[in-house]
Amino acid sequence: MAAVDVIGLTAERAAAMLREGECSSEELATAYLERIEAFDPALHAYLHVDPEHTLAAARAQDQSGNVGLAGVPIAYKDLLSTKGVPTTAGSKILEGFIPLEDADVVARGNAAGLVSLGKTNLDEFAMGSSTEHSAYGPTRNPWDQTRVPGGSSGGSAAVVAAGLAPWSLGTDTGGSIRQPAAFCGLVGLMPTYGTVSRFGVVAFACSLEQVGPMTLTVRDCALLQQVIAGGSERDATCVGLREPIVLPEPGRLDGVRFGVPWAELEDGVDLGIRERFDASLKLATELGAELVDVELPYARHGLAAYYVIAPAEASANLSRFDGVRYGLRVDAPDLRSMYEATRSAGFGPEVKRRIMIGTYALSAGYHDAYYVQAQRVRTLIRRDFDFAFLGVDAILLPTAPTTAFPMGARMDDPLAMYANDIFTLPVNLAGIPALSIPNGLVEGLPSGLQIIGAAHTENALMRFGAAFEQAIGFDPVPPALRGGAT
């Protein structure tokens, strides 16, 4: 069997190789599985890999003829239910849980012929920005193994950056696709709320989260979004796409108006990130775009509003983990102490913190002051974006104010960890789409450019992203993996 070189291999190219008979799906899957065996022990990006299962699925695709994307491998965040395959959400409380059904996005992947390589690591219940809050241990960043890959979809980012999968799915509740994509030199899309089904996604904060692609290129991002987006009769909040996703071609940006919220960039942005961001603004004008000052006066309150709304929804969603129907149970003499003992043993420190914040914010006497007030701020953030988009085609911001930080650096300071999502979470509060693309290196580490659009403008965002991508010319393969090294 000829070894396939999968380092830096895009899903688009892999699909072409399969269609043209340059390799089989089984050979492709074998190449990734060999790399997983060699490199994942150090990175700890996968929580579950089942080579027999993967190879059987690949052979089935080879036998039915590889058309379209059929036979291309993929990795799924372990927040996504997979029928008959363990799904932990990164939590001890779901250890050993075997879903009865596939998440809609996984079912769509299966229908397209994608072959699952495994389930990827995440912060427990997607609560975190570093993947250090996984109950199964942290994932390391392939660009620098002393640093975090970002989070909560850190495993999904690390496997693509390290060549352990050609692409992956993550979920984004406050930046959990875009920030790890930025930290690992990838493209990541937070889709418009309601365009991708959440059926089978272990719920954290239902009004904020969406599933989205994490890829090496903007075109791969569009290809995967074509697979997963669309209405579902199993998710009443999923209204589907207004127009089909098209594959973007790189080109110029003549006549495009980009908004720049300068006031948001004044504090707390690392110098190197700011330099890369300013360089991308210069590129935009060289490509023919016009830069327009915009103001998002309530965006700075997004962090506070988010840390009421997301924990409030989480405290309600996580009440289902009670030791009765699935997952962990810690025995106790009566029902109430069984609940308390089970939840105490099953949830990690960050999940307990958020359940406590959410329960407090929803409790009698505090509901109006915290929860309703945060929802009013949410309205104002949405209005800020609506107003800005009257005059611009998209808004540009750094994806995160820093590059990947050292492991352990923020674990003792929850607010410092939360603050890394300052540029991403207003997007979730507004329910609008945002694309993060690699924006060059800062001291050897990737940085991200975030392109934010009005609802249902994914095609425009990916067209802009493809133009930047070509002009920036970023190599998404970490230096240690270049040169065909195995």
Binding site: G96, F97, L100, Y193, G194, C206, S207, G231, S232, E233, D235, A236, T237, V239, G240, A304, A305, Y307, S315, S319, D322, G323, V324, R325, Y326, R329, A332, P333, D334, L335, R336, M338, Y339, E340, S344, F347, K352, R353, I355, M356, I357, Y360, A361, S363, A369, V372, Q373, A374, Q375, R376, V377, R378, T379, L380, R382, P414, L415, G431, I432, A455
Partner: protein
């Protein structure tokens, strides 16, 4: 992070934990009291905003929910429903007695 001073003592932390059905030991109560004071203090920066007349947003969809036809379809079997249960018993979920 600047913020307002929020007083949150061990008794209040224990009360919230009871509402959330979370068992906490004394060390966790002490640690969480400090952390929640700091986080809620930051969150409280929005409490003084003069926005009482702004309608709250619960979700960002600008269309009504997508509803399917109400037709009966096969569901999971009892055996499937009990497959992940920590203590299945005959045809149900067994739990300890209510009340001590």
């Amino acid at each position: 992070m600047s913020g307002e001073r929020i007083e949150l003592g061990p008794d209040e932390v224990r009360h919230v934990a009871t509402l959330a059905r979370l068992g906490l030991d004394d060390a966790e109560v002490e640690r969480l009291a400090g952390e929640l004071q700091s986080i809620l203090g930051h969150v409280a920066t929005i409490s003084a905003l003069p926005i009482a007349d702004v309608p709250p947003t619960a979700h960002s969809l600008d269309v009504a929910g997508a509803l399917r036809e109400d037709v009966a379809k096969p569901g999971v079997t009892r055996e499937q429903a009990l497959a992940n249960a920590p203590d299945p018993s005959f045809d149900g979920f067994r739990v300890p007695p209510i009340g001590s």
